[in-house]
């Protein structure tokens, strides 16, 4: 079964502070679609260096949503991009899709 986004990490560090949890989710809801758009654009332009930087930023959000295995995929994909290699692109984009679905419903 595929790893699903969750709030375990945020709940762990929030210490029950709901305002903090909501603030974090609001940031993800705002920034994630923007960053995915930038990712798609830079990839279209074959700008691997910029794409790697955007993946680097997205990586943090992946980890915040409790996706430990996906985080490793993102690390490897970022490294691949630095070498102009698109291996793991499909896997990475599946992670982005699952995050988008998650924040729509949370």
């Amino acid at each position: 079964m595929k790893e699903q986004p969750n709030l375990l990490y945020l709940k762990e560090i929030s210490g029950g502070d709901l305002a903090f949890e909501n603030q974090m989710l609001e940031i993800v809801k705002k920034e994630l679609p923007e960053e995915i758009k930038s990712y798609e654009n830079s990839l279209k332009e074959n700008n691997f260096k910029l794409t790697a930087e955007i993946v680097h930023k997205l990586k943090h959000k992946i980890s915040i949503l409790g996706l430990e295995k996906s985080y490793q995929i993102a690390i490897d994909f970022e490294e691949n991009l630095k070498k102009s290699n698109l291996s793991l692109q499909i896997e990475f984009e599946e992670i982005l899709d699952s995050m988008i679905n998650f924040i729509k419903n949370v």
Binding site: I13, G15, D17, F20, M24, I27, H60, S63, I64
Partner: protein, 234 residues
């Protein structure tokens, strides 16, 4: 400890802010989305601790550290494990936190930073216990300094001890027990009830004696094993 956060990501700043709020040893003064803004602040204000992201556009965390003449303590916060080796080159870096940062790991870093402030690296040398390198002996109401390194042998002579150095011999009213307590154990060894030798001065060892300078010193059977242990034998 007064601290600031430098990270281009809003989420990362908010998370460190949250972790700080759950720890009573550190207080947040301000946070900055870029190293440039932080430098302007640090030129006017002093802080005890910086939570610093490495990977920032235009001006990285390491660029900032190279710019600051006298940086405060720094805890690096990064998504990248690959900078750990470079981080060791900076004396001010207390710890290296890989995102996502847990409260437990964060608290450990703060503890490190607290201990770090008790013994800053620049002062560590002066706070080290000074190693005694010499001994003063009372001869005819004069206190004469003898450097340990120059002492070859100490020999018991009734109520006196004879201290043989590279250049001179000194007869002192004392006991073998007393002088043994004053001599560094790593350098000196009692090889016989009447002889303490400087093991660094041994020229050779033959059967039950050692040659030091032009003195042949007896080694008792009970002390021989310890002497042999000290030697770097081929």
């Amino acid at each position: 400890m007064k601290s600031i956060i430098i990270d281009d990501e809003q989420m990362a700043r908010a998370i460190v802010n949250q972790l700080i709020s759950m720890n009573n040893q550190v207080e947040l003064i301000d946070s900055f989305p870029s190293a440039i803004e932080a430098i302007k602040y640090l030129n006017q204000n002093s802080v005890d601790l910086i939570f610093l992201d490495i990977h920032m556009p235009a001006f990285s965390g390491f660029d900032l550290l190279q710019t600051l003449k006298n940086p405060p303590k720094v805890i690096l916060t990064t998504s990248d494990k690959n900078f750990a080796i470079e981080a060791f080159e900076y004396d001010c870096i207390v710890d290296y936190l890989v995102k996502p940062i847990t409260q437990e790991r964060f608290n450990k870093a703060i503890q490190k930073a607290t201990n770090f402030s008790k013994l800053p690296k620049e002062n560590a040398k002066s706070q080290e216990v000074e190693v005694v390198k010499e001994l003063y002996v009372n001869i005819d109401r004069r206190l004469i300094k003898l450097n340990f390194e120059t002492i070859n042998v100490v020999e018991a002579k009734g109520d006196y001890i004879l201290i043989k150095t590279e250049t001179k011999n000194y007869t002192v009213h004392s006991t073998m027990k007393k002088i043994q307590e004053k001599l560094p154990e790593d350098l000196f060894l009692k090889v016989h009830r009447s002889f303490i030798i400087n093991t660094k001065k041994i020229i050779d060892i033959e059967d039950n004696s050692v040659l030091i300078g032009n003195n042949v010193i007896p080694v008792s059977r009970s002390n021989r094993p310890e002497l042999m242990q000290r030697l770097n034998l081929l």
